[in-house]
Amino acid sequence: MENVIYVKELTKRFGDFTAVDEISFEVRSGEVFGLLGPNGAGKTTTIRMLTGLSKPTGGNASVLGFDIRTDIINVKKRIGVVPEISNLYDELSGFDNLLFMAQLYGVPRAGRRKRADELLKTFRLHERKDGLFRTFSRGMKRALTIASALTHNPEVLFLDEPTVGLDVVAARSLRNLISNLRRQGVTIFLTTHYLEEANILCDRVAVLVKGKIMAIDTPQALKDKTNKSTLEEAFMKITGLEPEVLAIEKGK
């Protein structure tokens, strides 16, 4: 399988603080790759660099063969990004939000409305197509935000904490959608701190702690290597958080 994302010693510093510290990994075509880590580990910073929202301080990275430093426009044309916050336009309807994204990404005029309609149906939002975004529930907003990232049929989809803040039903429905996208051949790069979610969705995961990658493998291999039965326990061991958790449990 060819690599669609290639990251070599990628670094991001904010003054004296190193948010991402010389990380290296590859993401293969068609896989779901999860970047796991506690809050402040550098997951979002990594996504921001790979999607052109933030410039790296050091190292190299390419997405679909295009260098993120010198050819970011070509990267942006071929990727979809779902940020942690559902940041579409409150005063536009569901349909108009998708139409705007299709216009912005240069989807041919003839196919824009059809594509927006298709996505609304796929994400079961068609009945609310004329409703303003601000009137949507949190789950619907999340679904429309993901739909908006797919208007131009991206080859790689970046999802930053896709199910954060969602109720159980909405989160489950969203996980099904992600699985469907994967079956359609979309490569998915997601960040999450829900380990069960990563266990279900991801082919491979990388564990990021304080800007450094501590481990990278399939969820099963990580469990095997650490001799743990769940990814959560494996994660605790890899990140060194296990003693802290045990201390808290003892305190109980």
Partner: protein, 242 residues
């Protein structure tokens, strides 16, 4: 790539116009406010209303172009929508130019309404070519000035406060209500460092029917002011995302 940028500029402007402009707050700020100001000055010192028309148009340009800049930039920065635009395959300058174009189009419509209304009501016959040569670069200057001031700060209220400073300064110093030629010499130098002076003066020449040799010169000066505002605005927005 340039085609992608042009498409981006067009659709961002269209989206902003649809979402934020042509709504009661922007319309009242862009058109009612300048008319109220001019009427207040007229009632304080009644004379020939025709003399106040260039000032009225200039104020409409100034207020309408900047009416929703704080919302289209600072509000979108706050809720993350601006970041969504920066994820699109266009340059950061195209995103900002789209924002500026929204203000220019709204300002153009408001200015056309005020200019046409004044010309019909007072029986004035302005030179249309001169009007275009002054109004278009002026719309660009003030919309990009608004963008520059908005990217300097974070919050909508900070941007609104900051925008009021040049607005009020220019109303009093640029010949809107008091001729620059009658001001003390020091203030006159200061006036000629402000873009609205050229707008008001150019509009006077458009309505007076005099020689108007200065119009191309004013167009160039206003274009210079536009570049002086838009280039640092793009640079500052880029810096925000470094």
């Amino acid at each position: 790539m340039q085609l992608d940028n042009l498409r981006g500029i067009f659709y961002i402007a269209l989206k902003d116009i649809k979402t934020y402009y042509f709504k009661p707050p922007a319309i009242s700020w862009g058109i009612v406010f300048p008319i109220t100001w001019i009427l207040a000055f007229y009632l304080r010192n009644p004379g020939s209303f025709e003399e106040l028309v260039p000032g009225l148009i200039a104020m409409t340009i100034l207020f309408s172009t900047t009416a929703a800049e704080a919302v289209v930039i600072n509000f979108e920065l706050r809720i993350g929508s601006l970041e969504r635009l920066l994820l699109a395959p266009i340059d950061i300058s195209a995103v900002l130019l789209g924002k500026v174009l929204g203000g220019v189009v709204f300002g153009f419509v408001m200015t056309t309404v005020v200019t046409t209304g004044s010309a019909i009501a007072l029986g004035l016959h302005p030179n249309l070519v001169r009007l275009v040569l002054i109004i278009i670069p002026s719309l660009l200057v003030f919309s990009s000035l608004g963008a520059l001031l908005c990217v300097l700060v974070k919050e909508v209220f900070e941007a609104q406060t900051l925008l009021n400073l040049p607005r009020l300064l220019m109303i009093f110093l640029c010949g809107v209500v008091y001729p620059v030629s009658k001001m003390p010499l020091v203030l006159r130098y200061f006036s000629y460092a402000l873009p609205l002076t050229y707008t008001v003066d150019g509009l006077r020449f458009s309505f007076s029917g005099g020689s108007g040799k200065v119009i191309p010169e004013y167009t160039l000066i206003l274009t210079g002011f536009f570049l002086l505002c838009i280039l640092p605005a793009v640079k500052m927005l880029s810096k925000k995302f470094e």
